[in-house]
Amino acid sequence: MRDSANTPVPRRGLVALAGAAVLAEALPPRPALAQGGPLRVGLMLPFSGTFAALGENIAAAFEMHLAERGGRMGGRPVQIIRLDDESNPANAVQNVNRLVSRDRAEALVGTVHSGVVMALVQAARERGVPLIIPNAGNVAATRELCSPTVFRTSFSNWQPAYGMGLALGKQGAKRAAWVTWDYAAGNEAGEGFRQGLAAGGGEVVRELKLPFPETNFQPLLAQIPGLSLDAVGSFFAGGGAVQFVREYAAAGLKERVPLCGSGFLTEGTLQAQGAAAEGIRTALHYGDGLDNPKNTAFRRAFRERANRDADVYAVQGYDAAQLLGIGLDAVRGDISAEKELTRAMRGARVDSPRGAFTLSPSHNPVQNIYLREARSGENRVVGVAAEALADPGTGCRMS
């Protein structure tokens, strides 16, 4: 047992692991032993599939911060166990089982896909394993499903869209439509957009939706001219965003009704969108040209380490590592001290490249939402859409 705890758990070492596990089952738990060995942190992220690039950036930035700390948190060496979740919700529960039961991860970081993250949240709630979500924005994770052991270093779907709606309303837009895939992320963002726009003095007059991940946008686009709108807000991501932005322009709508949206509409997609995206305004908690020393240093370091440019996902992964580090330092590596660990993390002030943030009572970042404009392949920050915005955290009752 001592040996197996000191060496990395190999993916193929199932037999050895099973043998060790039998021993572990037979003997009472020995916390003293656990403290001496490395702390096993499970990184459950997509390393293949549609979101592989996001997973790689999150993991790389997480490991970068760990390296900055000399590979230790709270005085203990940290051993990272990567597991590819393929963004496949069908295998999510089993994958979490693999990390927690087979590989004995003591803290979890993950993931991108909002369906897969549910299995992680459940493990955190049921088994008390601390979890940091470095991307997936389902509002539920920090609202009704909030838990003392669940933290997020990214955003809630509500936040960027609220910022966009607010900025739009303040600019004088009165009537807007909301276009999205009809699924949780799109509808949560839609809720934010509606509330933000209302706070700014405007109104969402129509919601246009299509099933995820269909890309037959034409039936929706054909309705827009008849609605006499000041703006169209939208939530799409990845290839769907590329397709939507291009078709929006091709339908001749871009000049008539300005398109805007939650930042993912143009995040990592500007190359493919080309001229169709030029001038589109979006809101997000990060952007290009964000000028602060932390960001500059972070981007340079990431570029050196990973040989590619940092993006919002890398920032979120980096901050996940920072947050875990703060918690473990406070308990000097004794992760079994759940109460003190979570108290320290809850009260953390994370010095993020996006600008420092704190956590709301439901463990979601309280952060600036920046207004950005797509200009020659970059999402340039042109202002702050909403300052120190907190997710309302409705329905969260920490037990």
């Binding site: 089952e25 293949s48 069908a90 039961s101 993250v117 549910m118 499903l145 949780a184 509808n187 995820f212």
Partner: protein, 327 residues
């Protein structure tokens, strides 16, 4: 379809005993994996009632599995399993009734296509509407283990063991029930329909009604399997209803052997084991799965167990066009 001999049943009982004792000899992870396999076996067994017993190949069966699972979410939390289990079965049966009544107006390939389409319709119902919490799925609170005023509190540590035994018990009951069913007049009628439906009609059997009964019963049993899935994983998502899962059920049946009632149980164990081995060997799980299916259908058309007796198989004699719709 044959039911195992006395020796076969003894072997099955021994295997069940070994599974029941797993918490003593296997890791916690493998105990959970065994629960997954048991649930898969329930699902495949319910599908076997259609495919093996009555010769109806359905690609929409997972929808009823998923509905059984979602029933746990839709019902109020904290109810006893004595209530939620039958409720899941009933809800799944209620969905299977109209789907079966419509699909059974067709035969053969058309049956396959219509079940697939209706199955996907139910999938979209949970995937695209707020009914079940959307595409990301939702947590469910596990039904309570209480009966007749006696509540059984399960501490977190021993939960996998309790779930394992529970799943084993449900699977055993399902198997015993189906074995008995095969010996009833209904079971005989199903077997006759699988052999030669037209002749059965000429003999005086209202074959469509018999098939519908089998379809609804299989749906209800899939609902039971879905309930146990939700109970085991405490999480449901729309993928549970997807047609890929139906196809996986068919694969389990083929792996285990089409001719025997216990085939799907062997097949489910093989399937889960295969998936586990595949993830240990390679990142490309689909590649392994696809190659194994190809190998089985090309090289071992009678399944791993070799239990698909040639005599029990019926060639499809009817021209497709004529079989498309009943007059």
């Amino acid at each position: 379809m044959i039911v195992a001999s006395r020796a076969g049943h003894a072997a099955l009982a021994l295997a069940a005993l070994a599974v029941a004792l797993m918490p003593l000899w296997a890791s916690g992870y493998h105990v959970q994996l065994a629960s997954t396999a048991l649930v898969a076996a329930m699902f495949a067994l319910s599908l076997q009632l259609l495919v093996g017993a009555a010769g109806m190949v359905s690609l929409g069966h997972a929808a009823f599995f998923g509905i059984g699972a979602y029933a746990v979410h839709l019902l109020p939390a904290g109810l006893s399993i004595l209530f939620t289990l039958p409720a899941s079965a009933l809800l799944a049966a209620a969905a299977a009734l109209p789907v079966g009544a419509l699909s059974l107006r067709t035969r053969g390939f058309f049956f396959l296509m219509t079940t697939l389409a209706f199955g996907q319709m139910l999938f979209f119902l949970f995937h695209d509407t707020p009914l079940g919490g959307g595409k990301d799925g939702v947590f469910v609170s596990r039904p309570a283990l209480e009966a007749f005023g006696f509540a059984f509190e399960v501490p977190r540590r021993s939960r996998p063991t309790v779930l394992l035994l529970l799943n084993l018990g449900v699977l055993a009951a399902m198997y015993a029930g189906l074995a008995a069913l095969m010996g009833t007049l209904f079971g005989h009628a199903l077997r006759g329909i699988r052999e030669n439906e037209d002749r059965m009609r000429a003999l005086g059997y209202d074959t469509r009604r018999v098939k519908l009964a089998a379809f609804v019963l299989a749906g209800a049993l899939a609902g039971v399997a879905g309930h146990m899935s939700a109970m085991t994983e405490a999480f449901v998502n729309p993928e549970l209803l997807g047609w890929h899962r139906s196809a996986e059920g068919l694969l389990m049946i083929l792996l285990g052997g089409l001719g025997a009632l216990h085939g799907p149980i062997l097949g489910a164990a093989a399937f889960v084991g295969l998936g586990e081995a595949a993830t240990l060997l390679t990142e490309r799980r689909r590649l392994v799965e696809g190659l194994v299916i190809l190998a089985v259908v090309l090289v071992l058309p009678r399944g791993l167990a070799g239990l698909r007796l040639g005599l029990l198989r019926r060639r499809e004699p009817a021209p497709v066009a004529a079989a498309a719709a009943e007059p």
